[in-house]
Every structure is written in structure tokens, then in C-alpha cells.
Amino acid sequence: MPAGDGPLVSLTWQPVPGAPGALIYPLIRKIDVISSNSYVITTPEVILIVDPGGVPEQGEQLSRLIEACREEFDRPVFAFLTHSHVDHFIGIQSNAAFSVQKAVVFAVHHAGALALECGDRTVTQADILQQPLSPMKVGLRLFAPEREDHAGLPASLCFPNGAEITIVQDPAKADSPRLPHEQIRFGNGPALDLYHTPGHSPDSICLRIGNLLFVGDLLFAANPGVAGLTGWSQESLVRSLSGAERLVAERGVTQVCPGHGNVISAGDAARMFSRVRADAQSLSHIAELNRDRAVATAEYATDCMEQVNELFTIMAGRLAYVTYILDELGEAGMAEETAALISSDAIDELLEAFRDFAGEYQKISPSPVPLMLKAAQVMGKLERTFQRNELAGIIDPTLVRRAARLLADYITMLRGFTLPGERQVLDLVPVIEAIVTGLSLPLLSDEEILSGPDDEGAFSRILLSRIGSRPLLDEVECEVVTKDSPLLAWIDRDHFTDLLTYILEDLVGTGAGRIGIRIRKGEEGATITITGILAVTGARKPLTWRFLRGLAERAGGSLVVRQQDGLQSFEFTARAA
């Protein structure tokens, strides 16, 4: 058995530091959204479980542990929930050892108790995580309003499992580090201190026994995909994090036990509380993360990843092309340096990891949350695989810009912010002509090349850019036709530029040698029709069209895509001004 003063070890009994006679058995899981960590604590008087977790196997593991403890000598069992989200308890709902009346007393903050007893699928997140949920009896309501009138006075409570406890609310108010506090004593054993720490959810609590502090999901409450969950509160979270930081500093806490991930030292926890508080303070006015938003975000994640896949493969391919040409020119050193600007193997592995995850996960869970979070993880890593500024000086900068914008837009949406955009009245004709001109000219003109500085570094940059950036419309005849100039419409210029670039790229990429862009004023507004005859035909990915329709909405209009007899057309309509 470990000595008790070192870091807690998973799946091992060890002393609880600062609580003589108490032992703890942590079940630390690999981080996921399905189930939390569990902790079992025994004293001579009681067996305590903190968060039984969200998967049945974990519940069975816990019931075997409890059975063994009770065989040693029988004691009452209490299961405390740090909060009533399903990933912290649903694993025991079908477990006989927990479901038999009177066997285990569930102890939950009274707000969570109300949700559990009526089977509230929203508050418990059963809805968003697509978990079945039955109403649950809560034997011990923590921070019950009826005890507020007797603050400081101990109350004795008896339970059907034979337990007798003493509970006191705010036992020493002046001593409390600003968090509502209750203390429970099970016989003569060590006290269990509870602190109300809302923010992640209204019913979140932290528990302290000896020098250990159990914090549930407090440390992740500002994370993308977690912040904004129904019941989340920025103001409460900031206050709770300050309180938890003080608890760690002033109550002799040496280790902090989170709901997910490894146990951390008090020093690390203090730094994390401070960082999470800063994150939380930046999250004003985020949208609620409910099931509808989770579904929409997961759908956007799938669409974004499809485009990210294509853009990153094209960028990596373009760079491979540049290094190929440099090799041919005998510039092996420069070829090697250029190849290092993008980690192609890492990109392939990340894109495949997402694809495999999406394929596997859709088979076993209808919940949109894991896919949404996996996409964020992959996009975060993708962002670190390419050197954006250097690449934009070599290959087509619109590729780099759109890839970067996709990654940033997804994280913005996941965090619950509105995507940046500003609709303004613009004359569509010069806007479109400028986009087409930009896609027809090389990155550097012949004049710029000839008048450039005459040193080796500058020559290398010019050479690389000349090889790597081929204007998209270089070999394509692109005609802009209109009879309605000027044609004013409400659009977001950046999103519209991206939309038109994606469309032109799609047509060029499928071999269209001639592209027509017709701009006209119709009954429904300003309409732009982009058409091309495809050299390569076949079934196309519907996700691309869904992505483009979403982008068209962000650009300020709507998009209709048609394909017939090799003729591909995109019709964008925006409100005329």
C-alpha cells in the first residue's frame, strides 16, 4: 500500500492524507465524455463513493469493491455526486447493488436531487449525451434550503441503511472561504466537508476529506464543448473558481481529484484554477450548449473536416510538387526546408484518426458530443502542423487563408460564440471582378520578380513562390457578365470571397475549362450564377454542397447547386439593397 503522502495511485487502496483511518481507492479513467473517474473512500464508520461514473462496467467494479469492504465488516454506503450529469452516475442505474432500495444512499445537491427525482433529461445532460434515464431517489439532499434557517446548528439524520450522520451548514461562517459549506460527520471518523461550487452546473459541489479535494468538472468548465452546457453560469463559475483556489490554499489541500483525468498536485491545481477563471471571464454571451446546438455543431464539424481534409491534402500536395521541382533543379537543401513547412504525415494521421473515430462512434452512440469534441481536438492539432505565414508566401495564399479560417471558425462556433461577420451594402460587380482578377494573377508579377532584391534569400523566396503558387484561373477562361451594374446587395465580404473561391476551385478542380459568372437583379434579390462544364463527372460528396450552403448563409444569401449532363451550376442569391 502506498504511504499516503505521495501522489494517489489508481486502482490501489491507500491512506487518505490528513484523515487518519480513512483509505481511498481511485478509479482513474482515460478521459472521455461517457464516464467520470470514481473514488471509493472507507473509514471504520462508512463507505463513501464519489461519482459512480457513467458506464455499467465501472458500476460493477464499484459494487465488487463495496461488497468486499462490507464482507470485511459491514458499514453503510453513501454515493456522493459532484453534480448530476449522467457521465457521473448513469453507469449504476441498472446495477442491482445500487438500485436495491436502502442499500446505498445517494447524496446530491438539492438542485440536482430535484432533477434526478423527476428524471430531467436536460439538466442531467441525458438528452445531449443520448443516454436513457430513469428517475432516481436521492436520500440525502445537500445544501437543503430547510437547513439554511439552522445554519451553524448540527442536525442528526438517520437513514434506512442504518447510517446516522451529523450535518451542519456553515459551521463556522467566518472561517468559510466564501463558498457555501456543509460538514458531515459519520460517527467519530474524519469530517467530510462539502462546498457549493456552481458554474459548470447549478448543483456542482466540491468535497474535501483530509487533504484531498474532489472537484468534479470544475477544472474543465470553461473548455470548448463544455462551457455553455444547459445550467452553466459564467458568473457563478468565476466565483466558484476563486473560492476553490482559496480552499486549496487555506485548507491544507495537497492533492486535487478531478472528475476526469489524473489527480493533480495542489500547486498545479491552483495554477489551473487561475487559468480556467481567466478563460471563464472571456466567455461572456456564449450560446447555451443544448442538444440542438450540439447537433448543429457536430454537423458543422463533419462538413468542416471534409473541407479541411481537402485543403490540407492540396496544400501538402502543392508543397510536395514544389519540393519535386526544386529537386529537379538540384536545390536539395531548399527542397528539404520547404518540405518541413507542413507535417504531411502528421496531417494524414490526424485526418484518418477523425475519420475512423467518426465511423466507429456513429455505430455505437447517437450523441453528437464526442464527434464535436474530437473535431476540436483534431483541428487544434492540425493548426500546429503547418507554418501559416511561410506557406502563404509559397503556395496559393487563399488555400492557407481558408484552411486557417475553417479551423478558427469551428473553434469559435464550438465555444458558443457567433461567427465573426459583417454584412454591408456592396456593389457585387466590382467585388466579383476583384476576386476573379485575384485568382487569375500570379502571386508575384514578372515586374516584381525583375525588380526584386538581388540577394540569395530573396531569389529563393521568389523561386518558391513562382513554383508553388499557380493562379487558380490560370488555364481557365472565366467570364463575368452583367447588365445590372451597379448591383447593390447585403453581403459579408470575407465569407462571400471564400464562397466564390470554393465554387471556382470546385469547377477548376473538376476540369471545367470555361466558367461563366452571370450577375443579375431578379425578383428575389441579387443573383449570381456560376456555371462550368465538367471534364470529370461522377457522384459528388453531398457534404460539400451542405458546407457551401452554410457558407452562403454566412455570406448573406442562399445557394442552389445543380448538376445536369456535365453542366454544374451554383446560384447564389442575396438581398438587394
Binding site: A316, G317, A320, Y324, D327
Partner: protein, 110 residues
């Protein structure tokens, strides 16, 4: 991914079926190298069964183009899906080697 190799009069055709991802790219590389080692220096890759190509796959194709540039060598791709053609086109590969609509047309031109 699986690769079927057929030796025709005009050249060797490797018909690839499946995604060319990080696992499949080295397999494709190996299959092509085997043919080149045996002296078959007119290689046509039939991609009619390839829905996806990774950057690792693109590098294999570039490496092959590099190996088959002696006088008399031939290297090309045929029957590309729209998705794969788009990647090849926008990455700039279509200026390095030829892409044909189908096997018949490729071998007829060789």
C-alpha cells in the same frame, strides 16, 4: 486497398481499389517499385476504384514520376474520381504527368 496488376502490350496497368491512406500509400509504393525493378517502365495507374488519396499517396505518385522520366518511360493515371482529380489538379500534379479518361485511351496514346 487492393492492387491488381495486368501486363498489357502498351504497358503495365495497376488497378487500385480502395482509399490510399497512410497504410495503403506504402503498399502502392511497393507494388510500383516491384514493377519498375522488373524492368516495366511504362506504368499506368487505374484509379477508378480510388475514392480518396492522402498526401502520403500524392508523394508516392510524385516519387514514381521522378523514377520514370528516362526516354521511353511512361507514367500516367486514368479513370480518376472527381474528388481525386480535384486534388491532383489543384496540387499542380497534372502538369507533371498525364491523366487519361480511361485505360484504353492511355495505352492507345503510348
Amino acid at each position: 486497398m487492393d492492387i491488381r496488376t495486368v501486363h498489357r502490350e502498351g504497358g503495365t496497368v495497376l488497378s487500385v481499389n480502395g482509399r490510399i491512406d497512410t497504410t495503403a500509400a506504402p503498399e502502392l509504393d511497393h507494388a510500383i517499385l516491384q514493377e519498375i525493378d522488373q524492368g516495366n517502365r511504362k506504368i499506368l495507374l487505374d484509379f477508378s476504384g480510388v475514392p480518396y488519396i492522402s498526401s502520403g499517396g500524392l508523394r508516392v505518385i510524385l516519387a514514381t514520376a521522378k523514377k520514370l522520366k528516362n526516354p521511353g518511360d511512361k507514367f500516367g493515371l486514368c479513370s480518376l474520381s472527381p474528388e481525386v482529380f480535384k486534388i491532383m489538379k489543384l496540387a499542380g500534379f497534372t502538369s507533371i504527368f498525364s491523366i487519361y479518361p480511361d485505360e484504353g485511351e492511355a495505352l492507345a496514346r503510348w
